[in-house]
Subunit: 318 residues, 2 copies
């Protein structure tokens, strides 16, 4: 099993190239929510999302042969950009399978970073099968978006930095899609903050995480429809779920309307552009601070990313 | 004359309460502009703008008698919020003369911080006279938005932090309204970075700074109409102009369209909500990097604030 040692090794591996993102606070949000929140701003990470951490960590461990052949991945957007940029930095050819309806800013950035984009339809096609076929055909190494030891260990470095910079936290809220960020966070917390209560936050329309925690097994749901494109996953990963079930207290959900309200607070009171998935943490704290008996507590929130098309963002916050 | 010693004293005075704001970079903006830019993010300062620095520095030096009587100021918005919050922290009553068409987010925040708002019409009334009358009538101390030694020394602490955190810079671009931020910056640069070329950036519609530099005297213009409400001043201050003419290489202008384009870059590529005035620096670099022979240079930009009504912001970036 992946452990905190792997997160520590990832931190050293990515240190020269990943940003140590700032931790911000807002008195006006604290007053509104009734808790003291510290925000880890991964929207300022390279490629605009935490995904750079895991992708760079994974690719930097490739053998010479793997580097020459190249990498293939699949992603709704942020892992795509992350793979493309990390691959360019390491001079590795990158092929990315992306949904036809991905945010155009994410597609543009992936292509600008030199990624070769292959399209699929997220409602009718199986992206993992497409990527696996490309890998077999061309001898590429597949780096999935979350269920990979090097990827999730890399994602854990964000929480490691947050614990180092912010000190003691009573609870930590983390956006939950396939579970890479939450599992990595859990590994960091297991050693650095074992008393900190951990919560995953997912969109209500895609509540596979809630159900998986309740049933003690990975529950697969139909493709959810939500503005939180980065968390519109159908199921957790095997590696991520094993870690999450062990260290995470629970998974909570929020509606798309609550996400939009959180995006408005991030923009209006914190001056941050946050994508819908990135606002899961604040939305989760607002919706559940009372029922989880966290009023007055010191709470960490990971803002996972800020990649949203400006016209859609404008439509949401106006 | 105010000197760097005053900036140093201000830094100590405000350290317990002002944020040391982060310095951010963006490879994609660097590629686009053709220079390496470091951004000092004062949109993350308390009240969402650098103005907290000067206001708190000034109010914290009040005598007991001044504190009891209270403070009066005038401002289109950010100095208003800054005075109101600093006064609340120091338990000083605050009255603020604000234009009727001020950004409603700025008015709301000023009132939430406990400021007593008095309205005026920016096209027909003289705000300084209104404030002076209130000061005389009620024994209040007037703290103007820029032409005051403690205010401009406080504003200089932002550049002091930037020089400390970012190292050597070939040039620094600073939004210019009444000149408080630019004069304070010049004092910081005069000791910490005497080789750094300094530029003020103002809206084309309100080019009193350009004209004042050219004519070697304070030129007063008609009330300008520009989206950069924080820089819609009619003239520089006496104290600020003396410092600016001595240390600043020149003042450049940008159009409102260039400001909107810079706001879009801040939002899309840096995930930052920046108000029109706050985007003067990046817009100024983009427009003048070539003519000032700064291609490839290492350039600092102060993002002065992020206080813009969300509906107007949405309209501008969509």
């Amino acid at each position: 099993m992946t452990t905190y040692d792997d997160v520590q090794r990832a931190a050293i591996q990515i240190a020269p190239l990943a940003f140590r993102t700032p931790v911000l606070t807002s008195d006006r949000i604290d007053d509104l929510v009734g808790a003291r929140i510290v925000f880890k701003c991964e929207n300022f990470q390279r490629v605009g999302a935490f995904k750079f951490r895991g992708a760079y960590n994974a690719l930097s461990r490739f053998s010479d042969e793997q580097r020459r052949a190249g990498v293939v991945g699949y992603s709704s957007g942020n892992h795509a950009q992350a793979l493309a940029l990390a691959a360019r930095m390491l001079d590795i050819p990158a092929t990315i399978v992306m949904p036809k309806d991905a945010a155009s800013s994410k597609v543009t950035a992936t292509q600008e970073y030199g990624g070769n984009v292959v399209w699929y339809d997220r409602y009718t096609e199986d992206r993992e099968a497409i990527a696996a076929a490309l890998a077999a055909q061309h001898g590429l190494t597949m780096i999935p978006p979350f269920d990979h030891p090097d990827v999730l260990a890399g994602q854990g470095t964000a929480a490691k930095e947050l614990f180092e910079d912010a000190g003691d936290l009573d609870a930590l809220f983390v956006p939950l899609g396939g579970g890479g960020l939450l599992a990595g966070t859990a590994l960091a917390a297991s050693v650095l903050a074992p008393q900190c209560r951990l919560f995953g936050v997912e969109p209500q329309a895609g509540d596979d995480g809630v159900r998986s925690m309740r049933e003690g097994r990975i529950v697969t749901i139909d493709q959810p429809t939500t503005i939180a494109d980065g968390a519109a996953t159908r199921h957790l990963g095997h590696l991520t779920f094993e870690i999450i079930r062990r260290f995470v207290e629970n998974v909570v959900t929020v509606t798309d309307d609550q996400l939009i309200e959180a995006m408005r607070l991030h923009a209006g009171l914190m001056k941050l552009v946050v994508e819908p998935t990135g606002a899961l943490g604040l939305a989760g704290v607002r919706a559940h601070v009372k029922s989880l008996e966290l009023r007055g507590a010191r709470i960490g929130v990971i803002i996972s990313g800020g990649n949203v098309d400006l016209d859609r963002f404008a439509e949401m916050i106006k």
